[in-house]
Protein backbone atom coordinates (compact mmCIF):
# COMPACT_ATOMS: atom_id res chain seq x y z
CA UNK A 1 0.00 0.00 0.00
CA UNK A 2 1.39 3.44 -0.81
CA UNK A 3 1.92 4.61 2.70
CA UNK A 4 2.82 8.14 1.68
CA UNK A 5 -0.73 8.73 0.59
CA UNK A 6 -2.15 7.29 3.75
CA UNK A 7 -0.11 8.58 6.64
CA UNK A 8 1.34 12.02 6.26
CA UNK A 9 4.74 11.70 7.88
CA UNK A 10 5.56 14.14 10.60
CA UNK A 11 7.81 14.08 13.62
CA UNK A 12 6.91 12.78 17.03
CA UNK A 13 9.59 14.75 18.90
CA UNK A 14 8.40 14.10 22.41
CA UNK A 15 7.93 10.36 22.13
CA UNK A 16 11.35 10.13 20.52
CA UNK A 17 12.95 12.18 23.27
CA UNK A 18 11.16 10.21 25.95
CA UNK A 19 12.43 6.91 24.57
CA UNK A 20 16.00 8.09 24.95
CA UNK A 21 15.61 8.41 28.68
CA UNK A 22 12.88 5.99 29.57
CA UNK A 23 11.66 2.64 28.28
CA UNK A 24 7.97 3.17 28.82
CA UNK A 25 5.69 5.37 26.80
CA UNK A 26 2.18 6.07 27.81
CA UNK A 27 -0.45 6.49 25.13
CA UNK A 28 -3.90 8.00 25.57
CA UNK A 29 -6.36 6.81 22.91
CA UNK A 30 -9.36 9.09 22.78
CA UNK A 31 -12.18 9.82 20.38
CA UNK A 32 -15.14 8.28 18.75
CA UNK A 33 -16.22 4.73 18.09
CA UNK A 34 -13.38 2.68 16.75
CA UNK A 35 -11.06 3.62 19.56
CA UNK A 36 -12.47 0.90 21.71
CA UNK A 37 -12.90 -1.57 18.92
CA UNK A 38 -16.48 -1.70 17.79
CA UNK A 39 -16.72 -4.42 15.18
CA UNK A 40 -13.54 -6.07 16.30
CA UNK A 41 -13.93 -9.64 17.43
CA UNK A 42 -12.79 -8.90 20.94
CA UNK A 43 -11.80 -5.99 23.10
CA UNK A 44 -8.15 -6.90 22.82
CA UNK A 45 -8.21 -6.32 19.10
CA UNK A 46 -9.00 -2.63 19.01
CA UNK A 47 -6.38 -0.53 17.30
CA UNK A 48 -4.65 0.78 20.42
CA UNK A 49 -4.20 -2.80 21.64
CA UNK A 50 -2.86 -3.89 18.26
CA UNK A 51 -0.59 -0.89 18.15
CA UNK A 52 0.89 -1.94 21.48
CA UNK A 53 1.61 -5.41 20.09
CA UNK A 54 3.28 -4.10 16.97
CA UNK A 55 5.38 -1.49 18.71
CA UNK A 56 6.48 -3.80 21.48
CA UNK A 57 7.49 -6.41 18.93
CA UNK A 58 9.34 -3.92 16.74
CA UNK A 59 11.05 -2.00 19.50
CA UNK A 60 12.35 -4.67 21.83
CA UNK A 61 12.54 -3.71 25.45
CA UNK A 62 10.08 -0.90 25.12
CA UNK A 63 6.95 -0.91 27.15
CA UNK A 64 3.79 0.68 25.79
CA UNK A 65 1.03 1.56 28.18
CA UNK A 66 -2.33 2.34 26.58
CA UNK A 67 -5.18 4.21 28.24
CA UNK A 68 -8.41 3.84 26.32
CA UNK A 69 -10.96 6.64 26.59
CA UNK A 70 -13.11 6.16 23.53
CA UNK A 71 -16.74 7.16 23.47
CA UNK A 72 -18.65 6.60 20.31
CA UNK A 73 -20.59 9.35 18.67
CA UNK A 74 -18.84 12.18 20.41
CA UNK A 75 -18.23 15.44 18.56
CA UNK A 76 -14.71 16.89 18.69
CA UNK A 77 -15.74 19.71 21.00
CA UNK A 78 -16.87 17.28 23.68
CA UNK A 79 -13.78 15.13 23.23
CA UNK A 80 -11.53 18.20 23.41
CA UNK A 81 -12.85 19.07 26.85
CA UNK A 82 -12.53 15.49 28.03
CA UNK A 83 -9.08 15.25 26.48
CA UNK A 84 -7.64 18.05 28.60
CA UNK A 85 -8.90 16.50 31.79
CA UNK A 86 -7.72 13.02 30.83
CA UNK A 87 -4.30 14.33 29.86
CA UNK A 88 -3.96 16.08 33.19
CA UNK A 89 -5.01 12.98 35.10
CA UNK A 90 -3.05 10.38 33.09
CA UNK A 91 0.07 12.25 31.82
CA UNK A 92 0.47 10.56 28.44
CA UNK A 93 3.47 10.99 26.11
CA UNK A 94 1.33 10.50 23.04
CA UNK A 95 -2.34 11.11 22.31
CA UNK A 96 -4.13 9.21 19.55
CA UNK A 97 -7.19 11.24 18.68
CA UNK A 98 -9.78 9.72 16.40
CA UNK A 99 -12.16 12.38 15.15
CA UNK A 100 -14.21 13.90 12.39
CA UNK A 101 -16.91 11.38 11.57
CA UNK A 102 -19.42 12.55 14.12
CA UNK A 103 -18.85 16.24 13.51
CA UNK A 104 -19.59 15.62 9.85
CA UNK A 105 -22.78 13.77 10.78
CA UNK A 106 -23.93 16.39 13.28
CA UNK A 107 -23.23 19.12 10.71
CA UNK A 108 -20.94 20.99 13.05
CA UNK A 109 -19.71 24.09 11.19
CA UNK A 110 -16.28 23.35 9.72
CA UNK A 111 -14.68 26.53 11.13
CA UNK A 112 -15.86 25.61 14.60
CA UNK A 113 -14.44 22.10 14.18
CA UNK A 114 -11.14 23.51 12.94
CA UNK A 115 -10.87 25.94 15.86
CA UNK A 116 -11.55 23.21 18.39
CA UNK A 117 -9.00 20.82 16.93
CA UNK A 118 -6.30 23.42 16.32
CA UNK A 119 -6.47 24.91 19.79
CA UNK A 120 -6.36 21.47 21.38
CA UNK A 121 -3.33 20.47 19.30
CA UNK A 122 -1.54 23.68 20.22
CA UNK A 123 -2.25 23.06 23.86
CA UNK A 124 -0.81 19.54 23.58
CA UNK A 125 2.28 20.87 21.80
CA UNK A 126 2.85 23.53 24.43
CA UNK A 127 2.82 20.79 26.98
CA UNK A 128 5.21 18.59 25.03
CA UNK A 129 2.74 15.87 24.26
CA UNK A 130 2.69 14.36 20.77
CA UNK A 131 -0.56 13.81 18.99
CA UNK A 132 -1.63 11.61 16.12
CA UNK A 133 -4.90 12.45 14.41
CA UNK A 134 -6.88 9.52 13.09
CA UNK A 135 -9.27 10.63 10.39
CA UNK A 136 -12.71 9.69 9.20
CA UNK A 137 -13.86 6.34 7.94
CA UNK A 138 -14.51 5.60 4.31
CA UNK A 139 -18.01 4.68 3.29
CA UNK A 140 -19.31 4.76 -0.24
CA UNK A 141 -22.29 6.91 0.72
CA UNK A 142 -20.26 9.64 2.35
CA UNK A 143 -17.67 9.72 -0.41
CA UNK A 144 -20.11 12.14 -2.08
CA UNK A 145 -21.15 14.14 0.97
CA UNK A 146 -19.91 17.76 0.87
CA UNK A 147 -19.82 18.25 4.60
CA UNK A 148 -17.93 15.00 5.06
CA UNK A 149 -15.37 16.12 2.49
CA UNK A 150 -15.06 19.53 4.13
CA UNK A 151 -14.26 18.00 7.52
CA UNK A 152 -11.75 15.69 5.83
CA UNK A 153 -10.06 18.64 4.13
CA UNK A 154 -9.99 20.54 7.40
CA UNK A 155 -8.18 17.66 9.11
CA UNK A 156 -5.61 17.44 6.32
CA UNK A 157 -5.06 21.19 6.49
CA UNK A 158 -4.67 21.19 10.27
CA UNK A 159 -2.20 18.32 10.16
CA UNK A 160 -0.09 20.10 7.53
CA UNK A 161 -0.14 23.44 9.34
CA UNK A 162 0.66 21.93 12.69
CA UNK A 163 3.11 19.43 11.24
CA UNK A 164 1.62 16.47 13.03
CA UNK A 165 1.00 12.89 12.08
CA UNK A 166 -2.38 12.28 10.50
CA UNK A 167 -3.68 8.85 9.59
CA UNK A 168 -5.78 9.27 6.47
CA UNK A 169 -8.14 6.50 7.23
CA UNK A 170 -10.57 7.46 4.49
CA UNK A 171 -7.95 7.09 1.77
CA UNK A 172 -6.57 3.94 3.34
CA UNK A 173 -9.94 2.26 3.55
CA UNK A 174 -10.93 3.34 0.07
CA UNK A 175 -7.69 1.95 -1.25
CA UNK A 176 -8.05 -1.33 0.58
CA UNK A 177 -11.65 -1.77 -0.44
CA UNK A 178 -10.71 -1.20 -4.07
CA UNK A 179 -7.86 -3.69 -4.22
CA UNK A 180 -8.72 -6.45 -1.78
CA UNK A 181 -11.30 -9.14 -1.88
CA UNK A 182 -11.20 -9.74 1.83
CA UNK A 183 -13.93 -7.75 3.46
CA UNK A 184 -12.18 -5.18 5.61
CA UNK A 185 -15.31 -3.73 6.98
CA UNK A 186 -17.56 -5.63 9.33
CA UNK A 187 -21.00 -6.72 8.29
CA UNK A 188 -22.55 -3.31 8.65
CA UNK A 189 -20.23 -2.32 5.82
CA UNK A 190 -18.76 0.32 7.98
CA UNK A 191 -16.77 -0.66 10.99
CA UNK A 192 -13.34 -1.91 10.48
CA UNK A 193 -12.97 -5.50 11.42
CA UNK A 194 -9.79 -6.91 12.85
CA UNK A 195 -7.95 -6.63 9.56
CA UNK A 196 -8.90 -3.00 9.17
CA UNK A 197 -7.78 -2.29 12.68
CA UNK A 198 -4.56 -4.06 12.04
CA UNK A 199 -3.88 -1.86 9.01
CA UNK A 200 -4.58 1.23 11.02
CA UNK A 201 -2.36 0.17 13.90
CA UNK A 202 0.38 -0.64 11.39
CA UNK A 203 0.17 2.83 9.91
CA UNK A 204 0.64 4.46 13.25
CA UNK A 205 3.37 2.04 14.31
CA UNK A 206 5.11 2.56 11.01
CA UNK A 207 5.15 6.29 11.52
CA UNK A 208 6.40 6.01 15.11
CA UNK A 209 9.18 3.63 14.15
CA UNK A 210 10.17 5.65 11.09
CA UNK A 211 10.45 8.74 13.24
CA UNK A 212 12.63 6.96 15.74
CA UNK A 213 14.99 5.79 13.06
CA UNK A 214 15.13 9.13 11.34
CA UNK A 215 16.14 10.63 14.64
CA UNK A 216 18.65 7.92 15.36
CA UNK A 217 20.41 7.75 12.02
CA UNK A 218 20.17 11.35 10.95
CA UNK A 219 21.58 13.47 13.73
CA UNK A 220 19.89 16.82 14.06
CA UNK A 221 21.79 19.35 11.99
CA UNK A 222 19.90 22.45 12.90
Amino acid sequence: MPSSSIAAPAPLPNVTATLETRKTIRVLAIGSSSTYGVGASSGSKNYPAQLTDILERALKGINIEIINRGVSGEVAKTTAERLRVEVALTHPDLVLWQLGTNDALARVPVEEFEDTVTSTIQWLKENKIDVVLVGLQYTARFARDDNYAAIRDALRRIAAQQNILYVRRFEAMRYISSVRNAPIVANDDLHLNDLGYHCMAEHIAHAVIANLFVRRFRPPTN
Binding site: S72, G73, E74, E81, V85, R107, V108, P109
Partner: protein, 387 residues
Protein backbone atom coordinates in the same frame (compact mmCIF):
# COMPACT_ATOMS: atom_id res chain seq x y z
CA UNK B 1 -52.19 20.54 39.43
CA UNK B 2 -50.24 23.15 41.27
CA UNK B 3 -50.43 26.80 40.44
CA UNK B 4 -47.39 28.03 38.52
CA UNK B 5 -44.61 28.60 41.00
CA UNK B 6 -40.94 29.38 41.19
CA UNK B 7 -39.56 25.85 41.54
CA UNK B 8 -41.61 24.49 38.65
CA UNK B 9 -40.74 27.55 36.59
CA UNK B 10 -36.98 27.09 36.96
CA UNK B 11 -37.31 23.36 36.44
CA UNK B 12 -39.15 24.06 33.22
CA UNK B 13 -36.43 26.52 32.31
CA UNK B 14 -33.76 23.84 32.90
CA UNK B 15 -35.73 21.30 30.83
CA UNK B 16 -36.17 23.65 27.89
CA UNK B 17 -32.49 24.58 27.83
CA UNK B 18 -31.37 20.96 28.21
CA UNK B 19 -33.42 20.19 25.11
CA UNK B 20 -31.67 22.93 23.12
CA UNK B 21 -28.19 22.19 24.43
CA UNK B 22 -28.54 18.55 23.47
CA UNK B 23 -28.69 19.37 19.78
CA UNK B 24 -25.00 20.20 19.20
CA UNK B 25 -24.31 22.92 16.68
CA UNK B 26 -27.88 24.23 16.66
CA UNK B 27 -28.10 27.96 16.02
CA UNK B 28 -30.18 28.70 19.11
CA UNK B 29 -27.63 27.16 21.44
CA UNK B 30 -25.92 30.56 21.54
CA UNK B 31 -28.93 32.03 23.33
CA UNK B 32 -28.94 29.58 26.22
CA UNK B 33 -27.52 30.71 29.52
CA UNK B 34 -24.53 28.41 29.43
CA UNK B 35 -22.79 30.89 27.13
CA UNK B 36 -22.68 33.31 30.04
CA UNK B 37 -22.60 30.77 32.81
CA UNK B 38 -19.94 28.46 34.11
CA UNK B 39 -22.48 25.91 35.26
CA UNK B 40 -25.31 24.81 32.99
CA UNK B 41 -28.81 23.41 33.25
CA UNK B 42 -27.63 20.03 34.48
CA UNK B 43 -26.57 21.52 37.82
CA UNK B 44 -29.84 23.43 38.07
CA UNK B 45 -31.86 20.32 37.24
CA UNK B 46 -30.12 18.20 39.89
CA UNK B 47 -30.29 20.99 42.48
CA UNK B 48 -34.04 21.34 41.94
CA UNK B 49 -34.45 17.55 42.04
CA UNK B 50 -32.93 17.71 45.52
CA UNK B 51 -35.23 20.60 46.36
CA UNK B 52 -38.26 18.55 45.29
CA UNK B 53 -37.12 15.68 47.48
CA UNK B 54 -37.82 17.99 50.41
CA UNK B 55 -41.52 18.09 49.52
CA UNK B 56 -41.67 14.31 49.46
CA UNK B 57 -40.03 13.73 52.81
CA UNK B 58 -41.59 16.48 54.86
CA UNK B 59 -45.29 16.35 55.47
CA UNK B 60 -46.57 19.47 57.10
CA UNK B 61 -48.71 17.45 59.53
CA UNK B 62 -47.12 14.40 61.06
CA UNK B 63 -43.83 13.01 59.79
CA UNK B 64 -44.09 10.05 57.43
CA UNK B 65 -43.02 6.80 59.14
CA UNK B 66 -39.50 5.89 58.08
CA UNK B 67 -40.54 2.62 56.41
CA UNK B 68 -43.20 4.31 54.28
CA UNK B 69 -40.74 7.03 53.35
CA UNK B 70 -38.19 4.47 52.16
CA UNK B 71 -40.84 2.67 50.10
CA UNK B 72 -41.93 5.91 48.51
CA UNK B 73 -38.40 6.95 47.57
CA UNK B 74 -37.39 3.56 46.25
CA UNK B 75 -40.60 3.62 44.21
CA UNK B 76 -39.48 6.92 42.69
CA UNK B 77 -36.07 5.48 41.87
CA UNK B 78 -37.76 2.57 40.08
CA UNK B 79 -39.95 4.94 38.05
CA UNK B 80 -36.94 7.00 36.98
CA UNK B 81 -35.02 3.82 36.14
CA UNK B 82 -37.92 2.63 34.00
CA UNK B 83 -37.98 6.00 32.25
CA UNK B 84 -34.25 5.76 31.52
CA UNK B 85 -34.64 2.28 30.03
CA UNK B 86 -37.61 3.41 27.96
CA UNK B 87 -35.94 6.47 26.44
CA UNK B 88 -32.74 4.53 25.84
CA UNK B 89 -34.60 1.89 23.87
CA UNK B 90 -36.47 4.57 21.94
CA UNK B 91 -33.19 6.31 21.15
CA UNK B 92 -31.57 3.09 19.98
CA UNK B 93 -34.54 2.39 17.73
CA UNK B 94 -34.49 5.95 16.40
CA UNK B 95 -30.79 5.69 15.59
CA UNK B 96 -31.29 2.31 13.92
CA UNK B 97 -34.29 3.57 11.95
CA UNK B 98 -32.37 6.63 10.76
CA UNK B 99 -29.42 4.48 9.72
CA UNK B 100 -31.73 2.23 7.68
CA UNK B 101 -33.86 4.99 6.21
CA UNK B 102 -30.97 7.19 5.13
CA UNK B 103 -28.80 4.21 4.28
CA UNK B 104 -26.15 5.73 6.52
CA UNK B 105 -24.68 3.12 8.87
CA UNK B 106 -22.39 5.76 10.36
CA UNK B 107 -25.41 6.99 12.30
CA UNK B 108 -25.18 3.78 14.33
CA UNK B 109 -22.11 5.28 15.97
CA UNK B 110 -23.95 8.22 17.36
CA UNK B 111 -24.50 8.75 21.04
CA UNK B 112 -22.32 5.88 22.12
CA UNK B 113 -24.85 3.56 20.51
CA UNK B 114 -22.43 1.56 18.39
CA UNK B 115 -21.67 -0.92 21.14
CA UNK B 116 -25.37 -1.81 21.24
CA UNK B 117 -25.20 -2.92 17.63
CA UNK B 118 -21.67 -4.27 17.57
CA UNK B 119 -21.34 -5.95 20.94
CA UNK B 120 -24.96 -6.59 21.82
CA UNK B 121 -24.36 -9.42 24.25
CA UNK B 122 -22.31 -7.47 26.77
CA UNK B 123 -23.90 -4.13 26.02
CA UNK B 124 -27.43 -5.27 26.84
CA UNK B 125 -26.24 -6.18 30.28
CA UNK B 126 -24.55 -2.79 30.49
CA UNK B 127 -27.75 -0.99 29.50
CA UNK B 128 -29.70 -2.67 32.28
CA UNK B 129 -26.93 -2.00 34.80
CA UNK B 130 -26.76 1.65 33.61
CA UNK B 131 -23.05 1.07 32.99
CA UNK B 132 -23.63 1.73 29.31
CA UNK B 133 -25.20 5.13 28.73
CA UNK B 134 -25.95 6.81 25.45
CA UNK B 135 -24.45 10.25 24.97
CA UNK B 136 -26.77 12.96 26.34
CA UNK B 137 -28.77 10.24 28.09
CA UNK B 138 -26.67 10.46 31.21
CA UNK B 139 -28.69 12.62 33.59
CA UNK B 140 -31.34 10.05 34.50
CA UNK B 141 -28.79 7.37 35.50
CA UNK B 142 -27.37 9.93 37.93
CA UNK B 143 -30.90 10.65 39.13
CA UNK B 144 -31.56 6.93 39.67
CA UNK B 145 -28.46 6.63 41.85
CA UNK B 146 -29.43 9.75 43.79
CA UNK B 147 -33.00 8.55 44.37
CA UNK B 148 -31.68 5.17 45.45
CA UNK B 149 -29.58 7.02 48.00
CA UNK B 150 -32.50 9.31 48.90
CA UNK B 151 -33.76 7.17 51.83
CA UNK B 152 -30.35 7.42 53.46
CA UNK B 153 -30.22 11.14 52.70
CA UNK B 154 -33.69 11.73 54.13
CA UNK B 155 -33.10 9.68 57.27
CA UNK B 156 -29.72 11.28 57.91
CA UNK B 157 -31.39 14.67 57.52
CA UNK B 158 -33.94 13.71 60.14
CA UNK B 159 -31.14 12.92 62.55
CA UNK B 160 -29.28 16.12 61.77
CA UNK B 161 -29.17 18.28 58.66
CA UNK B 162 -25.65 19.37 59.54
CA UNK B 163 -24.55 15.76 59.76
CA UNK B 164 -25.99 15.18 56.29
CA UNK B 165 -24.11 18.18 54.95
CA UNK B 166 -20.87 16.98 56.52
CA UNK B 167 -21.28 13.45 55.12
CA UNK B 168 -22.16 14.71 51.66
CA UNK B 169 -19.27 17.16 51.62
CA UNK B 170 -16.85 14.47 52.81
CA UNK B 171 -17.92 12.11 50.03
CA UNK B 172 -17.57 14.90 47.48
CA UNK B 173 -14.07 15.81 48.64
CA UNK B 174 -13.05 12.17 48.74
CA UNK B 175 -14.30 11.63 45.17
CA UNK B 176 -12.44 14.68 43.88
CA UNK B 177 -9.23 13.89 45.73
CA UNK B 178 -9.01 10.42 44.26
CA UNK B 179 -10.83 11.05 40.98
CA UNK B 180 -13.31 8.38 42.04
CA UNK B 181 -16.11 7.67 39.63
CA UNK B 182 -18.28 4.74 38.61
CA UNK B 183 -16.88 2.75 35.68
CA UNK B 184 -18.69 2.17 32.41
CA UNK B 185 -18.88 -1.24 30.83
CA UNK B 186 -18.46 -2.79 28.25
CA UNK B 187 -17.05 0.41 26.77
CA UNK B 188 -14.07 1.27 28.92
CA UNK B 189 -14.56 4.63 30.57
CA UNK B 190 -16.27 6.50 33.38
CA UNK B 191 -19.71 7.95 34.04
CA UNK B 192 -20.22 11.29 32.39
CA UNK B 193 -21.76 12.72 35.56
CA UNK B 194 -20.03 11.24 38.59
CA UNK B 195 -22.71 10.42 41.18
CA UNK B 196 -20.16 10.54 44.00
CA UNK B 197 -19.47 14.20 43.21
CA UNK B 198 -22.88 15.26 41.92
CA UNK B 199 -24.69 14.04 45.03
CA UNK B 200 -23.51 17.23 46.73
CA UNK B 201 -25.55 19.57 44.54
CA UNK B 202 -28.58 17.31 45.06
CA UNK B 203 -28.09 17.31 48.84
CA UNK B 204 -27.59 21.10 48.82
CA UNK B 205 -30.90 21.51 46.99
CA UNK B 206 -32.54 19.25 49.54
CA UNK B 207 -31.02 21.09 52.51
CA UNK B 208 -31.63 24.61 51.25
CA UNK B 209 -35.28 23.77 50.53
CA UNK B 210 -35.90 23.28 54.26
CA UNK B 211 -37.23 26.62 55.46
CA UNK B 212 -36.92 26.10 59.18
CA UNK B 213 -33.75 24.17 59.88
CA UNK B 214 -30.15 23.56 58.93
CA UNK B 215 -28.68 25.18 55.88
CA UNK B 216 -32.07 26.30 54.57
CA UNK B 217 -32.81 28.32 57.68
CA UNK B 218 -29.30 29.74 57.64
CA UNK B 219 -29.61 30.76 53.98
CA UNK B 220 -32.92 32.50 54.63
CA UNK B 221 -31.56 34.36 57.66
CA UNK B 222 -28.61 35.72 55.74
CA UNK B 223 -30.33 36.08 52.42
CA UNK B 224 -29.15 39.60 51.60
CA UNK B 225 -25.53 38.94 52.54
CA UNK B 226 -25.48 35.72 50.53
CA UNK B 227 -26.99 37.48 47.57
CA UNK B 228 -24.22 40.08 47.62
CA UNK B 229 -21.66 37.30 48.00
CA UNK B 230 -23.14 35.52 44.96
CA UNK B 231 -22.62 38.48 42.62
CA UNK B 232 -18.84 38.08 42.06
CA UNK B 233 -19.28 34.33 41.46
CA UNK B 234 -22.01 34.88 38.90
CA UNK B 235 -20.07 37.65 37.13
CA UNK B 236 -16.79 35.73 37.28
CA UNK B 237 -18.41 32.56 35.97
CA UNK B 238 -20.18 34.55 33.28
CA UNK B 239 -16.94 36.12 32.09
CA UNK B 240 -15.15 32.77 32.13
CA UNK B 241 -17.86 31.24 29.97
CA UNK B 242 -18.05 34.22 27.63
CA UNK B 243 -14.29 34.29 27.03
CA UNK B 244 -14.07 30.49 27.01
CA UNK B 245 -11.63 30.64 29.87
CA UNK B 246 -10.88 27.55 31.86
CA UNK B 247 -7.79 26.82 33.92
CA UNK B 248 -5.21 24.74 32.10
CA UNK B 249 -5.53 21.29 33.71
CA UNK B 250 -1.78 20.78 33.44
CA UNK B 251 -0.94 24.06 35.14
CA UNK B 252 -3.23 23.81 38.14
CA UNK B 253 -1.80 22.42 41.38
CA UNK B 254 -2.75 19.05 42.83
CA UNK B 255 -5.37 17.86 43.57
CA UNK B 256 -6.19 19.00 40.07
CA UNK B 257 -9.92 18.33 40.09
CA UNK B 258 -10.36 21.03 42.71
CA UNK B 259 -9.04 23.71 40.41
CA UNK B 260 -10.40 22.69 37.04
CA UNK B 261 -13.80 23.57 35.60
CA UNK B 262 -14.67 19.94 35.15
CA UNK B 263 -18.26 18.87 34.59
CA UNK B 264 -17.87 15.14 35.22
CA UNK B 265 -16.58 15.74 38.74
CA UNK B 266 -18.50 18.98 39.28
CA UNK B 267 -15.39 20.93 40.20
CA UNK B 268 -15.86 23.43 43.05
CA UNK B 269 -15.90 26.42 40.68
CA UNK B 270 -18.89 25.00 38.79
CA UNK B 271 -20.65 24.03 41.99
CA UNK B 272 -20.08 27.45 43.58
CA UNK B 273 -21.29 29.15 40.44
CA UNK B 274 -24.44 27.01 40.31
CA UNK B 275 -25.26 27.77 43.94
CA UNK B 276 -24.50 31.47 43.43
CA UNK B 277 -26.89 31.53 40.44
CA UNK B 278 -29.59 30.04 42.62
CA UNK B 279 -28.86 32.55 45.39
CA UNK B 280 -28.97 35.50 43.04
CA UNK B 281 -31.97 34.52 40.96
CA UNK B 282 -34.11 32.87 43.64
CA UNK B 283 -37.17 35.04 43.94
CA UNK B 284 -36.76 36.29 40.37
CA UNK B 285 -39.95 34.49 39.47
CA UNK B 286 -42.07 37.18 41.08
CA UNK B 287 -40.78 39.63 38.47
CA UNK B 288 -41.04 37.22 35.53
CA UNK B 289 -44.56 35.97 36.29
CA UNK B 290 -46.38 39.32 36.01
CA UNK B 291 -44.22 40.49 33.11
CA UNK B 292 -44.54 37.36 30.97
CA UNK B 293 -47.51 35.33 32.22
CA UNK B 294 -47.61 32.88 29.27
CA UNK B 295 -43.91 32.09 29.72
CA UNK B 296 -44.38 31.56 33.45
CA UNK B 297 -47.36 29.28 32.81
CA UNK B 298 -45.61 27.36 30.06
CA UNK B 299 -42.35 26.73 31.92
CA UNK B 300 -44.19 25.89 35.15
CA UNK B 301 -46.25 23.33 33.26
CA UNK B 302 -43.03 21.75 31.95
CA UNK B 303 -41.56 21.78 35.45
CA UNK B 304 -44.64 20.19 37.02
CA UNK B 305 -44.24 17.22 34.66
CA UNK B 306 -40.52 17.20 34.52
CA UNK B 307 -39.86 13.48 34.15
CA UNK B 308 -42.26 13.14 31.20
CA UNK B 309 -41.00 16.34 29.63
CA UNK B 310 -37.40 15.33 30.14
CA UNK B 311 -37.99 11.97 28.45
CA UNK B 312 -39.76 13.46 25.45
CA UNK B 313 -37.13 16.20 25.26
CA UNK B 314 -34.28 13.68 25.20
CA UNK B 315 -35.78 11.74 22.33
CA UNK B 316 -36.65 14.99 20.51
CA UNK B 317 -33.09 16.28 20.81
CA UNK B 318 -31.93 13.14 19.08
CA UNK B 319 -34.60 13.52 16.42
CA UNK B 320 -33.41 17.12 16.02
CA UNK B 321 -29.87 15.92 15.42
CA UNK B 322 -31.03 13.47 12.80
CA UNK B 323 -33.03 16.24 11.13
CA UNK B 324 -29.98 18.47 11.05
CA UNK B 325 -28.00 15.60 9.60
CA UNK B 326 -30.44 15.16 6.75
CA UNK B 327 -31.23 18.79 5.98
CA UNK B 328 -27.95 20.34 7.05
CA UNK B 329 -27.55 22.78 9.89
CA UNK B 330 -29.11 26.04 8.81
CA UNK B 331 -31.22 28.64 10.48
CA UNK B 332 -34.41 27.39 8.83
CA UNK B 333 -33.89 23.77 9.86
CA UNK B 334 -32.87 24.88 13.32
CA UNK B 335 -35.91 27.11 13.70
CA UNK B 336 -38.20 24.27 12.65
CA UNK B 337 -36.48 21.93 15.11
CA UNK B 338 -36.84 24.44 17.94
CA UNK B 339 -40.49 25.24 17.25
CA UNK B 340 -41.47 21.58 17.01
CA UNK B 341 -39.51 20.89 20.20
CA UNK B 342 -41.04 23.72 22.22
CA UNK B 343 -44.55 22.77 21.11
CA UNK B 344 -43.99 19.06 21.75
CA UNK B 345 -42.65 19.70 25.25
CA UNK B 346 -45.71 21.82 25.99
CA UNK B 347 -48.05 19.16 24.62
CA UNK B 348 -46.27 16.58 26.77
CA UNK B 349 -46.90 18.66 29.87
CA UNK B 350 -50.49 19.32 28.88
CA UNK B 351 -51.29 15.67 28.11
CA UNK B 352 -49.61 14.56 31.34
CA UNK B 353 -52.08 16.70 33.27
CA UNK B 354 -55.10 15.57 31.31
CA UNK B 355 -56.18 13.07 33.93
CA UNK B 356 -55.74 15.55 36.73
CA UNK B 357 -57.83 18.06 34.85
CA UNK B 358 -60.57 15.50 34.16
CA UNK B 359 -60.60 14.45 37.77
CA UNK B 360 -60.79 18.05 38.90
CA UNK B 361 -63.71 18.67 36.56
CA UNK B 362 -65.62 15.51 37.45
CA UNK B 363 -64.92 15.62 41.15
CA UNK B 364 -67.74 16.22 43.66
CA UNK B 365 -66.74 19.83 44.01
CA UNK B 366 -65.89 21.14 40.59
CA UNK B 367 -62.89 23.42 40.61
CA UNK B 368 -62.79 26.82 38.95
CA UNK B 369 -62.44 26.60 35.23
CA UNK B 370 -58.93 27.97 34.89
CA UNK B 371 -56.75 24.94 35.62
CA UNK B 372 -53.45 26.65 36.43
CA UNK B 373 -54.90 28.55 39.35
CA UNK B 374 -56.31 25.47 41.06
CA UNK B 375 -54.63 25.05 44.40
CA UNK B 376 -52.68 21.86 44.66
CA UNK B 377 -54.33 18.65 45.81
CA UNK B 378 -51.78 17.19 48.22
CA UNK B 379 -51.31 13.73 46.77
CA UNK B 380 -50.96 14.52 43.09
CA UNK B 381 -48.85 17.53 43.84
CA UNK B 382 -46.45 15.41 45.79
CA UNK B 383 -46.30 12.94 42.98
CA UNK B 384 -45.63 15.65 40.47
CA UNK B 385 -43.04 17.38 42.62
CA UNK B 386 -40.71 14.47 42.57
CA UNK B 387 -40.74 13.88 38.86
Amino acid sequence: MRAPNEIDFWRGFALATIFINHVPGIFYERFTHRNVSLSDSAELFVFLAGWSLRYVVSDPGQPVPAFRLVLRLVGRAVVIYAAQILITVLAIALIAAAALYYDAPLILEWHNASAVFEEPVATHIGLVLLSHQLGYFNILPLYVVLMTAAPAIALLDRASPWLLLAASLALYLYALLGGLNLPTWPVEGRWFLDPLAWQLVFVLGFLIAATDRGLGAFARQHRQALRVLAVPFVIGGGLAAWFHYSPDPLRVPDPKLFFMFDKTFLSPARLAHAIALVGLFAGGYRFVAPALPPLARYLSMLGRNSLNVFCVGSVLSLAGQITRFEYGGGIITDTVVIIIGIVALGVTGWVSEWRDRLRARQGPQPSPSSPPSVSSPPVSSRRAQTT
